[in-house]
C-alpha cells in the first residue's frame, strides 16, 4: 500500500515538474522576452557545466580550456549551416549549388563527435599530468583553439577570423523553422520558446546520460581514478582509456551546447570563447558541488541567471535611489561574483549542494 502511495506521489511530483518546466517560458515571457532568452542561455550553461563535470567532477581532471569544445561545436554548426563555406570555396559551392542545408539530426551528432575528437586530441598528450600541470596545459589548449579561430582567415579563409561567421541558419525540425512565431496546433509559439523546448530536451537527455554513467562500471572507474590513480591502475582499470573517455564525453556535451548556441545566436565569433568563459563554467561546477549532478545544475543556473538578474535590477534601483547610475552593473557583477566565490570556498568548500554520503 505504502509503496503504491509512494509511486503515486512520484508520478504526481514528476507531472508537476514537467508542467512547471513546460510553462516556464510563458511565465518568463510575461515579464519580458529577454527573460526567455536568459532561460535559453542558462540551459546552454547547464549543458556545459554537466559536460565539464564529467572531466573535473567524475574523473578529477582539472580542465581550464573546456570552452574550446563549445567553440568547436559552435563553429562546426556555424560553418555547415551558413553560406560561408560555399562563398569561399568553389569546389564546395559546385558540390552544393543550393548551399549546405544539413538536417539538425545530423548536425548535433556531428558537433558532438567533432568536439569529442578534439577532446581526445587534448587528452592524449596530457595523460600523465594531474592537478596544476594539467590545468596549465588545458588552459593553453583553450587559448590555442581560440587563436586558431581568430587567425584562420588567411591564407585560406576557413573561419572568417575575428569577424566571425554570420547568417547561420536557425534550427529546422520537421519543416518548422525556429526563426519566427509559428502556429502549432492553434497556439502561437514564438521561436524563443521553441528553442527553450529544444534546449530543455537536450539538457534532460544529457542529465540522463550523466546519471546513468555515474552509476555504472565506467563511473566507478572514474571515481577510482580521481581518488587514487595508482590503486585504480592496480585494480585493472586502464586509466589511459578511461581518461580519454572522460575527455571525449565531456567535450561532446560541450560540442552539442556549442552547436545550439550557434543556431540560437545566428552568429559566432572567437570573442565568445575566451578564458573567462572556461573559468565561469568551472565556477559553476565548483560552486554547485563537483561530481554531484543536481549541484552542478544549480551552480550553472545560479551563475548564468545571476548577472542577468543584476543587470535588470541594479540600474533601475540606483536611478530610483540616487536619480543617476553610480556603479555600473558590470563592475558590480564582477565584485559580487568574486566575493561569492570566496565566501563559498570559505564556508562551503564542497559546493552549495554537495554529494551526501
Amino acid at each position: 500500500m505504502n509503496k503504491l502511495a509512494n509511486r503515486h506521489q512520484q508520478i504526481i511530483g514528476f507531472l508537476l515538474v514537467a508542467v512547471a518546466l513546460a510553462a516556464l517560458p510563458w511565465v518568463a515571457g510575461l515579464i519580458g522576452n529577454s527573460w526567455v532568452r536568459i532561460l535559453n542561455i542558462a540551459l546552454l550553461y547547464v549543458m556545459l557545466a554537466l559536460g565539464l563535470n564529467i572531466v573535473v567532477g567524475f574523473a578529477g581532471l582539472l580542465d581550464l580550456g573546456y570552452i574550446a569544445f563549445y567553440a568547436v561545436g559552435a563553429y562546426v554548426y556555424g560553418l555547415l549551416a551558413s553560406p560561408h563555406l560555399t562563398d569561399n570555396f568553389e569546389t564546395i559551392a559546385a558540390l552544393f549549388p543550393d548551399g549546405l542545408h544539413l538536417s539538425i539530426w545530423l548536425m548535433i551528432p556531428l558537433g558532438a563527435l567533432t568536439a569529442a575528437l578534439f577532446g581526445v586530441l587534448l587528452g592524449a598528450p596530457t595523460l600523465r599530468l594531474r592537478g596544476d600541470y594539467l590545468a596549465i596545459v588545458t588552459l593553453g589548449f583553450g587559448e590555442i583553439i581560440r587563436l586558431f579561430l581568430n587567425n584562420l582567415n588567411a591564407p585560406v579563409n576557413i573561419t572568417n577570423g575575428p569577424q566571425g561567421i554570420n547568417m547561420i541558419e536557425p534550427v529546422q525540425i520537421a519543416g518548422v523553422r525556429f526563426s519566427r512565431t509559428v502556429d502549432l496546433f492553434g497556439i502561437e509559439v514564438p521561436a524563443l520558446h521553441l528553442y527553450y523546448y529544444l534546449f530543455l530536451a537536450l539538457t534532460l537527455l544529457i542529465i540522463l546520460v550523466c546519471m546513468r554513467l555515474q552509476n555504472s562500471r565506467i563511473g566507478r572507474a572514474w571515481t577510482a581514478i580521481r581518488d587514487d590513480e595508482i590503486a585504480a591502475k592496480s585494480m585493472g582499470i586502464n586509466t589511459r582509456n578511461m581518461k580519454l573517455l572522460a575527455f571525449a564525453l565531456g567535450a561532446s556535451f560541450g560540442g552539442v551546447a556549442g552547436a545550439m548556441f550557434s543556431a540560437f545566436q545566428g552568429f559566432v565569433s572567437p570573442e565568445s570563447f575566451g578564458l573567462m568563459e572556461s573559468i565561469i563554467v568551472l565556477c559553476m561546477v565548483v560552486l554547485g558541488g563537483m561530481g554531484h549532478i543536481p549541484g552542478v545544475i544549480l551552480g550553472a543556473l545560479l551563475l548564468a541567471g545571476f548577472p542577468e538578474m543584476l543587470r535588470q535590477v541594479v540600474t533601475p534601483v540606483q536611478e530610483f535611489l540616487f536619480g543617476t547610475v553610480l556603479v555600473d552593473a558590470e563592475i558590480l557583477r564582477s565584485l559580487i561574483y568574486g566575493l561569492t566565490m570566496v565566501l563559498v570556498m570559505l564556508y562551503r568548500p564542497n559546493g552549495l549542494w554537495p554529494q551526501r554520503k
Partner: protein
C-alpha cells in the same frame, strides 16, 4: 613438477646509484603461501612494485601461469589475475566499502559506455552480479555490516580488510599483500591470520610481505629473506630461522641489543 604459478628471475632495479632490488628470484607454486621478509629498506615493496607493474625492472624476467609478461602496465597485470594491496592503504576514500569492492571487479566485467547509457539487459544483469559479488566479498573478509560506510570512515583494521576484499574481487590466482598486519593490534592480527588461512584454503596463492615474523612463520610454506636488495636466505620458515645470514642481518640487530643489556 608443474610449471610454477609465478616466477621472477634475476630482478634488478636501481634508483640513482642504489640497487634497491638486486638479482632477486622468486618462485610460487599454485596454492602456496610465500613470505617475503627483511628489515626496513630491504627492497620488499620495490620488489612488489616490479612484480605488479608499477615499476619497470632494469633487468630480469617475470612469468605468470607459465607465460612471460612484461610488467609495463599495472592494469594488464591485474587482468592476468595478480591482485595486490598496498602498504600505505590506498582505498578510494569518497566511495563506499561496497563501491570499492565493485571497482575491484573492473577487470572481470565488461560493460562500456553504451551499455551504461542505454541500460541494456546485459548491463543490468552485470550490475546486479557486481553488487551481489561485492557484498559476498565484504562478508568474506568480515565487514559486510559496513557496506554503506565510506571507505575512509572504517577503522584501520577494517580498511586493511577492505583492501583485501577489493583485491579478492578480481578473482586473482595470486594475491599479493603488502604488510597487511601493519598497525594492527594482537586481536586484529589473529583475525587476519584466520582470514589468510581461509583464503589459502579456498585455493588462492598468496605472496606476503610482512614485518610480523610470528605471522609469517605461522602461515608461510616458504620464506624469502631480503637484505639490501639481495636474497640472503630462501626456504621453509624453520630453515630460514636457523640460517646464520638471517640471524646476522635480520634478527642480529635484536640479538646484539639483548646482549648489551
Amino acid at each position: 613438477m608443474n610449471a610454477p604459478l609465478f616466477s621472477a628471475s634475476n630482478l634488478r632495479k636501481s634508483f640513482g646509484g642504489i640497487a634497491a632490488v638486486n638479482d632477486v628470484s622468486l618462485c610460487i607454486q599454485a596454492g602456496q603461501v610465500i613470505g617475503l621478509i627483511g628489515p626496513n629498506g630491504a627492497g620488499k615493496t620495490t620488489c612488489f612494485n616490479l612484480i605488479t607493474g608499477l615499476y619497470t625492472p632494469d633487468a630480469g624476467q617475470l612469468a605468470f601461469k607459465g607465460k612471460p609478461y612484461k610488467p609495463a602496465s599495472p592494469h594488464h597485470v591485474a587482468e592476468m589475475g595478480l591482485a595486490r594491496t598496498f602498504q600505505n592503504i590506498r582505498l578510494f576514500k569518497s566511495m563506499t566499502a561496497l563501491e570499492n569492492v565493485a571497482v575491484g571487479m573492473h577487470a572481470k566485467t565488461s560493460q562500456g559506455v553504451l551499455g551504461a547509457i542505454l541500460r541494456t539487459p546485459a548491463q543490468r544483469r552485470e550490475e546486479i552480479k557486481v553488487q551481489k559479488q561485492a557484498m559476498h566479498w565484504l562478508h568474506y573478509v568480515g565487514i559486510g555490516a559496513y557496506s554503506n560506510h565510506l571507505a575512509g570512515q572504517l577503522s584501520y583494521g577494517d580498511q586493511r580488510r577492505l583492501e583485501i576484499a577489493r583485491a579478492l574481487a578480481s578473482e586473482p590466482a595470486l594475491l599479493a599483500l603488502d604488510e597487511p598486519a601493519a598497525g594492527m593490534n594482537a586481536t586484529e592480527k589473529l583475525k587476519l591470520r584466520e582470514l589468510l588461512l581461509q583464503i589459502r584454503h579456498d585455493g588462492k596463492s598468496i605472496l606476503l610481505i610482512e614485518h610480523d615474523v610470528k605471522l609469517v612463520m605461522g602461515i608461510c610454506d616458504e620464506v624469502t629473506v631480503l637484505d639490501y636488495g639481495k636474497v640472503i636466505a630462501q626456504g621453509t620458515p624453520t630453515q630460514v630461522q636457523q640460517s646464520p645470514a638471517v640471524i646476522e642481518a635480520y634478527l642480529g640487530g635484536l640479538h646484539h641489543a639483548e646482549s648489551r643489556e
